[in-house]
């Protein structure tokens, strides 16, 4: 057997796990590992400018590929800078392995230089964590970390490694385990057949069914099965913010996203349905609105791989614990073997009602105005056109995120990448970089605002170093739009600290980092300049688009009300 130091074992284990990219930042506690990386040719290390960006890059990579993203940060501030990104991944169940350096074991607990109890600090926001106690256990710990991160309900896993564990002169036998063994962890592989039959029977007998699908469909690679089942039963479909693309966004059966900024049609369909078929969704507070008034006439079928998600906020009538893909496969098989047929008249009258709600215009209507000022919604529609609806779109957090989710209609899973659970400003740009690195031929755009983009703008430098020609679509309204919207609606337009004074000249800023900047202030320039930007395949282009500051995101549910209670514009409500 080969003899390796702990530092070499870290690098070799990652390579043997099939890792291609590591996103990181060196520091004292990691120097042995970085020295081992220096001699490594197969792994590519991306040097970010701030550790938070490393975690979001790894996150973007994970969301686009389904594989765990790998982060390497040093002890103390390196580790704490990664916390926001770890929490972001945790809230959206994203597989990630974070290797953090730690002070030497004999210094742990002494308040040593750059010491932080990383296992303790990260505990509430990880799926699991390890602290390495002996160099020889490094391969096994790393194997377990990947297994835990990627299996079951995915999530981030921290591996904290004290510096003495990586000492280059202490060598041990190395072999990378083929499988991780954990006696206390066995994620489900199939759903309960009896429950599956009951669910199919309930759907067949439903008068007003609705398929409410979440991020679990994307993470669980079940878009194909779900689409097949929705087609077979002619189900209306709503995808949550995390589930967009799980069902084709341009299809007739798709009603738009539900919830706080969901479509009028989706929210009404949800309120009035008699069977709510929840697949990999978690009844998040941004979807259900007032729990007491939620779906008063619905029986609920809930499929999720995590039993703790079922009946957490809304009680399920038919709970099914299992991976969404195999459960849906089994449901399809069950459906084929049954002799019962749907009553087509009943289904048709439900669709007639839905089509009345939907009308013939946009799924999300808005006032286009007189064209003197660019509406943010129009920018997303133009982006959809220019990219053919087939780009990887990441977003930051705020109004622009909601506009992107409403107006870009995703037909494929893994294309819409945003921080849904934690709502992390600064997420979109590094996430886009992580995707571009893995899919250099694909169009990757980050929809952002002048508030969010400044939370990780330093990464413009990383993009130049590694040649990552992403497109930044900055909906610049000169204010923290979503905060301002709430201040308009609930605080009598008292704009407490929601505007940005002294915004930088983003064009010059992009140029200073060696990229291209294009400013758009006139509606007639919007499409041509956007086309020009996306035609520059090998350059990062920062599109700074001046949009209407006064615009609000609608619909907006009325807090504490039912699904159907919404503001539809500044003056009109249901």
């Amino acid at each position: 057997m080969e003899l390796l130091s702990g530092a070499e074992m870290v690098v070799r284990s990652l390579r043997d796990e099939g890792v291609k990219y590591i996103y990181g930042y060196p520091g004292g506690a990691l120097l042995h590992i970085y020295d081992a990386l220096f001699k490594e040719n197969e792994l590519t290390h991306i040097l970010v400018r701030h550790e938070q960006a490393a975690t979001h890059m790894a996150d973007g990579y994970a969301r686009a590929t389904g594989k765990a993203g790998v982060v390497l940060v040093t002890s103390g501030p390196g580790a704490t800078n990664a916390i926001t990104g770890i929490a972001t991944a945790y809230m959206d169940s994203i597989p990630m392995v974070i290797i953090s350096g730690q002070v030497p074991s004999d210094a742990v607990g002494t308040d040593a230089f750059q010491e932080t109890d990383m296992v303790g600090v990260s505990r509430p926001i990880v799926k699991h964590s390890f602290m390495v106690k002996h160099p020889a256990e490094i391969p096994e710990v790393i194997k377990k970390a990947f297994y835990l991160a990627e299996s079951g309900r995915p999530g981030p896993v921290v591996v904290d490694i004290p510096k003495d564990m990586t000492n280059p002169t202490d060598k041990f036998e190395y072999s990378y385990p083929k499988k991780a063994k954990l006696r206390s962890y066995a994620p489900p592989t199939r759903g309960h057949s009896g429950q599956i039959r009951k669910a199919v029977e309930m759907l067949l007998a439903a008068k007003r069914p609705l398929l409410y699908a979440g991020g679990g469909v994307v993470l669980g690679q079940a878009a194909r099965q779900m689409t097949e089942l929705a087609k077979a039963l002619n189900l209306p479909v709503t995808n949550t913010l995390m589930g967009l693309g799980g069902y084709p966004g341009t299809d007739r059966q798709f009603l738009g996203m539900p919830g706080m900024h969901g479509s009028y049609t989706a929210n009404l369909a949800m309120h009035h349905c008699d069977v709510l078929f929840a697949v990999g969704s978690r009844f998040d507070d941004r979807v259900v609105n007032g729990v007491e008034q939620f779906c008063p006439t619905a029986k609920i079928i809930h499929i999720d791989i995590d039993p703790a998600t079922i009946s957490k906020t809304i009680k399920a009538d038919i709970p099914i614990v299992g991976p969404v893909n195999t459960v849906l496969d089994d449901m399809l098989a069950e459906l084929k073997s049954m002799n019962v047929k749907q009553d087509q008249n009943v289904v048709a009258s439900w669709w007639k009602q839905i089509d009345e709600w939907r009308g013939s215009g946009r799924l999300f209507p808005y006032n286009e105005g007189d064209g003197s000022i660019i509406k943010p919604q129009t920018v997303i529609e133009a982006l959809m056109e220019v990219t053919g609806g087939d780009a990887y779109i990441t977003s930051d957090v705020g109004q622009h995120q909601m506009f992107a989710a409403q107006y870009y209609r995703f037909d494929k899973p893994n294309r819409w990448i945003n921080s849904g659970g934690l709502g992390t400003m600064g997420f979109g740009f590094p996430a886009a970089m992580g995707i571009k690195l893995s899919f250099p031929e694909e169009t990757v755009a980050c929809v952002t605002g002048e508030g969010s983009i400044q939370m990780n703008i330093q990464e413009l430098s990383t993009c130049l170093q590694y040649d990552l020609p992403v497109k930044i679509v900055n909906l610049n309204n000169g204010a923290l739009g979503m905060v301002r919207q709430w201040q308009d609606m609930q605080y009598n337009s008292r704009y407490s600290h929601s505007y940005m004074e002294s915004l930088p000249d983003f064009i010059k800023l992009a140029e200073a980092y060696g990229h291209v900047g294009i400013r758009i202030t006139d509606l007639k320039d919007l499409k041509p300049k956007m086309e020009e930007a996306f035609a520059m395949k090998d350059r990062l282009v920062f599109l700074d688009i001046q949009v209407d500051t006064s615009e609000h995101v609608y619909p907006m549910q009325i807090r504490g009300g039912a699904m159907r209670d919404m503001w539809l514009s500044k003056t009109e409500r249901t």
């Binding site: 505990r123 509430p124 964590s129 602290m131 206390s184 039993p307 703790a308 957490k312």
Partner: protein
């Protein structure tokens, strides 16, 4: 309703902090907690009592089960079980009181485990109720110090919590 949840977990540093962290993180109630290694040195047995609505208890057991280090879990209060708590209690015992404390301890089948001219230290084992009743019987005015172990328990009959 009060529940006694008993679980086996990996006997590793950090496992206990995950269990405790879960309770504060998710705003669950925890009344008592005991933990010690088992006959298998790789496993610890942890017993805790909690109270809450059925939905909350369901979430607590589900989330405990989700912790990677938790190997197996049982809600003892769902079926017949034996539960015990140990109490050591220092009671003022001088003058006429001295005989009365001794009599009360005997009634509760307590043992006097330490004696000074003015103090009896009584050891008492039983359900939480029984220990509470003893404290009431003695009267808080006479109590100098109380230390209780928290509840531990085991299922009756053939039912066991093991790998």
């Amino acid at each position: 309703m009060r529940h006694i949840i008993s679980l086996l977990m990996e006997n590793e540093p950090g496992a206990l902090s995950r269990v405790i962290g879960l309770f504060s993180q998710r705003n669950y109630n925890i009344e008592s907690l005991t933990v010690a290694a088992t006959e298998d040195p790789t496993l610890s047995r942890l017993t805790l009592t909690t109270a809450g609505k059925e939905e909350v208890i369901e979430q607590i057991t589900k989330n405990l089960n989700k912790l990677i280090e938790v190997v197996k879990l049982v809600d003892l209060s769902e079926s017949p079980h034996v539960e015990r708590e140990l109490m050591l209690i220092k009671i003022k015992a001088s003058g006429a009181q001295r005989a009365e404390v001794k009599r009360t301890a005997d009634i509760f089948r307590g043992q006097i485990v330490d004696v000074t001219p003015s103090i009896y230290t009584v050891q008492l084992t039983g359900t939480t109720d029984k220990l509470d009743s003893f404290i009431q019987a003695v009267g808080t005015a006479s109590i100098v110090e109380v230390v209780r172990s928290g509840v531990t328990g085991i299922a009756r009959g053939d039912k066991v919590l093991s790998l």
